[in-house]
């Protein structure tokens, strides 16, 4: 198992290095002059050149990349052009807020979609199966800015149950009510996909020979489902959930903008608009790290739960 996980870890690091290169090169290719962007239209050409030199933008690309990535590895994310302040000062709180939103969305979507998928599978072919499958699919096809607006109109404007804007300041519990609507918009997108995977895995397990063995042993249906079906059927679902984490963080851009929430998606969006490359690059890299961590955790979980992988090479 150790060897397998080391392999995965190595791959994750490699992916991260590649991602950083792509992000860096993309930052160079994008039109725009950072010095000009910072100093504004009326600054002199020499002042812009001096600032670019000060920022190290006149050095060859590999050197710039190396300077950037080694600073990055030490935790120095650079200075934001836009705010003339360290990127980290904005990035970490924004990431924290995004994670809060993501956690709320996950806490709702994971149990709900697994329950939905498993219920559909256990009632295969019946009305409830059709309803869950069709509802999941329909919700997944609605873009989050549409469902978000509909939610705002219904629950915030008409019913006035929940606030329109998501609050960014305050403790987790004070902001929680304002996170519910954006979280639900995210849940809509994710529910169909996860439920579908959970349903497929459960159907496969239900049709398996070992479930037949368990049933013909005379085990009660409940025991068969919980002990024999779910453990095997939810394994693939774990991987799906982990990959959705990546989507979730990326998908936050739209939701955070819509709900005016100061998360990492909103931060990146603003950075891109104002050509704040250090902020943009750092933001994308951090999302990359979060994504890779999530898949790594899924791999570990999958390995621990699957005896075939856990015991590989251990004999």
């Amino acid at each position: 198992m150790g060897k397998y996980l080391l392999e995965r870890l190595g791959l994750a690091v490699l992916t991260l290095v590649l991602l950083s290169m792509i992000v860096f090169v993309a930052g160079q290719v994008l039109p725009g002059n950072p010095g000009r962007a910072i100093l504004g239209h009326f600054a002199s050409q020499s002042a812009v050149a001096a600032l670019n030199r000060q920022l190290g933008l006149d050095k060859p690309l590999p050197v710039q990349y190396w300077d950037w990535i080694s600073r990055f590895a030490q935790g120095n994310l650079g200075r934001s052009y836009q705010y003339s302040a360290p990127v980290s000062q904005f990035l970490w709180p924004a990431l924290g807020r995004s994670l809060e939103l993501a956690v709320v969305a996950f806490v709702i979507v994971v149990p709900l979609s697994i329950l939905g998928g498993v219920t559909a599978a256990l009632n295969r072919g019946k009305a409830i199966d059709r309803i869950i499958s069709i509802a999941g699919l329909s919700l997944a096809t609605v873009p989050e800015f549409v469902s978000g607006i509909v939610l705002i109109v219904i629950f915030a404007i008409e019913l006035e149950w929940l606030p329109v804007d998501a609050q960014s300041q305050g403790s987790f519990f004070t902001v929680l009510p304002s996170l519910i609507l954006p979280a639900i918009a995210l849940v809509f997108v994710l529910f169909g996909y996860i439920a579908r995977m959970a349903r497929a895995g459960t159907v496969e397990a239900l049709d398996s020979d070992y479930v037949r063995t368990a049933t013909l042993k005379g085990l009660p249906r409940r025991t068969v489902v919980f002990r024999h079906v779910l453990r095997n059927s939810l394994l693939p679902t774990i991987t799906v959930i982990a990959t959705q984490t990546g989507y979730l963080i990326g998908g936050l851009v739209v939701i955070e903008t819509l709900f005016n929430y100061q998360g990492i998606g909103r931060l990146i969006y603003d950075a891109a608009l104002s050509k704040d490359f250090p902020m943009l690059e750092a933001g994308i890299l951090v999302i990359g790290v979060v994504y890779l961590l999530a898949t790594l955790i899924a791999d570990v979980l999958y390995t621990v739960l699957n005896p075939r992988l856990r015991l590989q090479g251990a004999e």
């Binding site: 020979d209 070992y210 037949r212 063995t213 368990a214 049933t215 042993k217 024999h228 739960l305």
Partner: protein, 712 residues
């Protein structure tokens, strides 16, 4: 071992039955239509009795099991009839009653032990569950699980209890499943093809175990199998199924000795028997096809394939009729059934055997070593073979012995180690097919086990065979078309099959296409890798006949790989017995089967169940095949050999292949006169077989050995 006893002398109390199935009909709903899959199935199993259901694929054996345990697929349901177990009506049971029935009264063992166990639970837990249902606390259940595993004589129960299913071999897993099934001492044990996925030696052990447990626990048994010999060995009474009906029923020995339904008669004639050989006997076959599922013909279900059928058979449905001696046959003409005319003429006019002194294929010092994860696995070790035109080499051995690697090396699909020599018609060929010329490729062709996987589903028969004609025979235009029709006819297909795609053909026809493709380039050597293992026995017979005819006409050499010794014996001129990649015995087929045998060959031969039921003394092999990555020292077979020398030679010195008779080599330290000879009575059995032929070609021999099966 359990002998098949005639019904009247069996210890079955006739008044109480463990299982009664009466006029059972089962239908599947397919696209809104009901398809009647089982029709009027009736049988009874007395206490402690063992009853067998035998038939080809699609006959409804497994559906019967599913109906009895009420585990039919979601679209299946019982439409008529009743099932009574221990006096209680199974069909009317509620969920709780059904659960209790499954927990206490009936246990089921299925074909694939590897899939029957939960992959993410330890074995001990899974076995213990059975006791927990019965109310044992968890700790006690675990202890009883350990005890149950010891009951099935599993090696190292302490390790097994902590193991996950993927860590155990197929034979061990089946023991675990049997341990679970027998643990609660059910009144009925259902075995659905329990040994079909296992090697012959393992099958023999599992069957012995089941027989032993039956005696110990006094359990009634319902045994489902496609293998007539297995049923004969395991069952007191038998029901022969065809197209969803039981067509004949009675004491197993009587049914197999003196069948009274044309289907049973035909089936028994399809199977190669001891003493039958390709050069003087031809297998019979059953013409036509199984009716498609759900098709309910008017009249007898078998009428369209029956040579005895007349107008009455085609219009009236025969009922199960008592034919005396507690036997019943669903046939108006059960008295004439034994005289069913053959579908294939019995006599063969064929040339066989060596016609040239030049070997067509020569294999010298062929080895193959795989490296995986730092370990090297020797899949083939110094194999030497010579084959002449028109000969058949049978390659036998348990799974993992190197049979398939040998085939792949010959074909150039796997490159052998340095120093290996493969010569075809005196020419050394390149190690891989990619580097072989067109002519070398043409000379060596293959027929695979599974025609479904071997034929491209998107191509028509014309394309599949025609392409080979273009590529290997270099034909085109009208010449190609003529040859195409020639070949298709030679495999007994019609030009009308040419535009069809594989999906439109039956399994047997698909295999014919594969054979036609292989023959299109006029090969010198045809490698057949289990070509009939995926086919039903009646289809197998037709394919074997075809292979024999083609060989006699084209003088092709076959390398015939099979686990079915009956088939190998019928076809082969020479036999190579492989074990852990090494040739253990190699020589003329007659001499290899006559003995004296290498101890491994002896074990293989004795593991095969026989239809006469008398059974020879079985040679038991201890344990599983060792890992080829870590072969035993000395003779690789010593860990399982019942005859190994007491002085320890076998453990330390690897025996060389020595010539024990002209043309026959063996890898064993033992002197010839200490080796076993399984067929000392073989001479007499063969003479009785000949006598059978004198009496008439339609007589069914009483002293026959039927090996092999009806379907995979």
């Amino acid at each position: 071992m359990t002998l098949a006893l005639p019904a009247e002398t069996s210890p079955t109390p006739q008044d109480r039955h463990t299982l009664e199935v009466d006029h059972l009909d089962v239908a599947y709903t397919v696209r809104g239509n009901d398809r009647l899959t089982l029709r009027d199935i009736s049988f009874r199993i007395g206490q402690q009795e063992s009853f067998g259901l035998v038939g080809e694929s699609g006959c409804g054996k497994s559906t019967t099991v599913q109906a009895i345990t009420r585990y039919l697929p979601r679209n299946g349901r019982v439409t008529a009839g009743s099932i009574t177990m221990g006096g209680r009506d199974v069909m009317s049971m509620g969920p709780e009653g059904l659960r209790r029935l499954r927990a206490r009264e009936v246990s089921v063992v299925y074909q694939e032990p590897g899939r029957a166990l939960n992959p993410s639970m330890r074995i001990g837990r899974q076995v213990a569950e059975v006791f927990e249902i019965m109310g044992s606390p968890r700790k006690e259940a675990m202890e009883r699980a350990g005890h149950a595993l010891r009951t099935v004589q599993i090696a190292d129960p302490g390790r097994v209890i902590r193991a996950y299913p993927h860590q155990l071999s197929g034979g061990m897993l089946q023991r675990v499943v049997i341990a679970m099934a027998i643990a609660v001492e059910p009144s009925l044990l259902v075995l659905d093809e329990p040994t079909t996925a296992l090697d012959a030696t393992v099958e023999a052990e599992v069957l012995d175990l089941v027989s032993g447990l039956r005696e110990q626990f006094n359990t009634a048994v319902l045994f489902i199998s496609h293998n007539l010999a297995v049923i004969a060995k395991m069952c007191d009474r038998v029901g022969v199924m065809y197209a969803g009906e039981i067509v004949e029923q009675g004491a197993a020995q009587e049914v197999f000795d003196d069948p009274r339904h044309p289907y049973t008669v035909g089936l028994l004639r399809c199977v190669p028997r001891r003493g039958h050989r390709k050069d003087h006997d031809r297998l019979d076959s059953i013409p036509g096809f199984l009716p498609s599922p759900g098709e309910v013909p008017t009249g007898c279900v078998f009428a369209t394939r029956c040579a005895l059928a007349d107008d009455r058979c085609r219009s009236e449905t025969p009922a199960m009729e008592d034919v005396g001696g507690a036997r019943a046959s669903r046939c108006f003409k059960h008295e004439e059934a034994p005289a069913l005319p053959r579908a294939t003429p019995a006599d063969v006019a064929m040339r066989s055997g060596r016609t040239s002194s030049e070997p067509v294929i020569r294999v010298e010092h062929v080895s193959k070593t795989y490296s995986a994860r730092g370990e090297s696995v020797r899949a083939l070790v110094d194999v030497n073979l010579e084959l002449y035109p028109g000969e058949t080499l049978g390659v036998v051995g348990e799974s993992g012995c190197g049979k398939t690697t040998l085939a792949r090396v010959l074909l150039g699909l796997t490159a052998p180690d340095e120093g290996s020599v493969v010569e075809i018609s005196g020419q050394r060929v390149a190690p891989t097919a990619a580097r072989r010329g067109r002519d070398e490729l043409r000379l060596l062709q293959i027929v695979f086990q599974n025609p479904d996987a071997a034929l491209n589903r998107r191509h028509s028969v014309r394309h599949i065979v025609g392409r080979t004609l273009t590529k290997l025979a270099g034909l085109d235009g009208e010449e190609r078309e003529e040859r195409l029709i020639d070949i298709v006819r030679s495999v007994r297909m019609e030009p009308r099959h040419l535009p069809m795609r594989p999906a439109q053909l039956s399994g047997g026809l698909k295999q014919r296409v594969a054979i036609a493709r292989a023959f299109a380039g006029q090969p010198a050597v045809l490698v057949c890798d289990e070509p009939t293992s995926a086919l039903d026995v009646s289809v197998q017979a037709a394919i074997l006949n075809l292979l024999v005819d083609l060989q006699s006409r084209e003088q092709v050499t076959y390398v015939f790989i099979s686990h079915d010794l009956g088939v190998v014996r019928y076809l082969s001129d020479r036999i190579a017995v492989l074990y852990l990649g090494r040739i253990m015995e190699y020589g003329p087929a007659e001499s290899v089967f006559a003995g004296p045998h290498h101890p491994y060959t002896e074990a293989l031969l004795s593991a095969v169940p026989t239809l006469d039921g008398t059974g020879r003394e079985r040679i038991r092999l201890e344990g599983d095949i060792p890992s080829p990555a870590d072969p035993p020292s000395g003779c690789v077979f010593h860990t399982r050999c019942p005859r190994r020398l007491a002085d320890g030679t076998c453990e330390t010195v690897e025996p060389p292949l020595r010539e024990v008779e002209p043309g026959k080599v063996m890898r064993c330290h033992l002197p010839l006169d200490e080796l076993g000879r399984l067929e000392e009575q073989g001479a007499s059995s063969r003479s009785s077989d000949d006598r059978g032929h004198e009496v008439g070609p339609h007589a069914v021999d009483h002293d026959v050995e039927v090996v092999g099966g009806l379907d995979p």
